[in-house]
C-alpha cells in the first residue's frame, strides 16, 4: 500500500527544528537537534493543532535526529500521549539514540509508549 505524505509544519532554526507530516493515518513528528524548554511550547502547539485540524490521533515521534532531550521535551511526548489515548489513538517512538534512550528509560516513558525500529515499520503495522 502506498504511503500518503503531507507536510504540515516545518519550523525552527539551525539549532532546533521539527517537521510534522501526515503519513496515512499517522502524524510523524520529527525534531532535529536538542529538545528543551526553548522549543517545547511551539512543538506542543503545532502537534495539537495538526491533530485537531487533520483529525489524526496516532503520533509517531521520530527521534532519529534528536541529539539531546531533557524532561521538558519528555513532557511534550507525555502530554501528547495523554491527549491521543483519550481520543483512542496511539503514540509510537522511533529512532532514539543512546542519550535520548537513557533519559526515556529513566523517565519510565518506555513502559507507556510503543517503540519501533522505524517510521516505516509503524506505518505498515497500523495501516
Amino acid at each position: 500500500m502506498g504511503r500518503v505524505i503531507e507536510s504540515i509544519v516545518n519550523r525552527g532554526d539551525k539549532a532546533m527544528n521539527y517537521t510534522i507530516k501526515k503519513e496515512n493515518n499517522c502524524l510523524v513528528v520529527a525534531p532535529t537537534g536538542e529538545i528543551d524548554m526553548s522549543i517545547t511550547d511551539a512543538l506542543r502547539r503545532d502537534v495539537d493543532r495538526a491533530m485537531e485540524q487533520n483529525k489524526v490521533f496516532n503520533i509517531i515521534f521520530d527521534l532519529d535526529k534528536v541529539s539531546f532531550v531533557d524532561s521538558s521535551g519528555l513532557g511534550v511526548i507525555l502530554g501528547r500521549y495523554k491527549k491521543v489515548t483519550a481520543a483512542g489513538g496511539r503514540v509510537f517512538l522511533t529512532g532514539a539514540g543512546p542519550q535520548v534512550r537513557k533519559v526515556l528509560e529513566l523517565s519510565g516513558l518506555l513502559t507507556l509508549l510503543e517503540e519501533h525500529p522505524s517510521v516505516e515499520h509503524v506505518i505498515s503495522k497500523i495501516s
Binding site: 528543551d36 524548554m37 531533557d70
Partner: protein, 146 residues
C-alpha cells in the same frame, strides 16, 4: 580549584548555552562523553527549573551558575533569586508537578545523574541547587518507574 561563574538572562534559549558552557568547562576533568551528556541533562533541568519555577518564565531575571573543577571532580551551583520553593520535600518527589504537561522529573534526573545533590530555598528569596560528580564513580540507582 579551577572556577567559573556565569550569569545570564532567564530566557529559554539560554538553557542550551548553559549546557554547552558547563560541559565545555568540566571537560577539563576526565569525564567520558556519556558522563558529559548526563551532566548536560542535570544542568538543563536545574536551569529550566530556575526559569520556569523560580522566575515563572520572566525572561528579564538572572540565573547564576558557579562551576568548580579539581582533579577528577566537578561541582555546580545553580542560583536564582526567584519565588523559592514552599515545600522542598514535596518538590523532590519524583513525578510531582503542578502542571499536567510536565513530568516533574527534573530533580530526579539531577539526583540520578550527579553523585551529590542539595537544594536550599527560601520562599520569596530564591533557590540554590548544588550538584557534584566525580569522574569514574559508579552510578546510583535510577528513578523508580512511573
Amino acid at each position: 580549584m579551577n572556577k567559573a561563574v556565569l550569569e545570564f538572562s532567564s530566557r529559554a534559549e539560554n538553557v542550551a548555552f548553559a549546557r554547552v558552557t558547563v560541559a565545555t568547562f568540566v571537560s577539563q576533568v576526565d569525564f567520558t562523553l556519556p558522563d558529559l551528556e548526563e551532566i548536560k541533562v542535570a544542568v538543563s533541568e536545574a536551569v529550566s527549573n530556575a526559569i520556569i519555577h523560580g522566575y515563572e518564565n520572566n525572561p528579564d531575571q538572572v540565573v547564576r551558575l558557579e562551576i568548580s573543577i579539581a582533579d577528577e571532580y566537578m561541582e555546580l551551583v545553580v542560583i536564582d533569586r526567584g519565588k523559592g520553593i514552599e515545600d522542598i520535600e514535596k518538590a523532590l518527589e519524583p513525578a510531582f508537578s503542578t502542571d499536567p504537561e510536565r513530568m516533574g522529573l527534573g530533580f530526579s534526573f539531577m539526583q540520578s545523574f550527579m553523585d551529590k545533590f542539595n537544594v536550599q530555598s527560601e520562599p520569596g528569596k530564591g533557590t540554590r541547587v548544588k550538584m557534584s560528580r566525580r569522574a569514574g564513580a559508579p552510578r546510583r540507582a535510577v528513578v523508580p518507574e512511573q
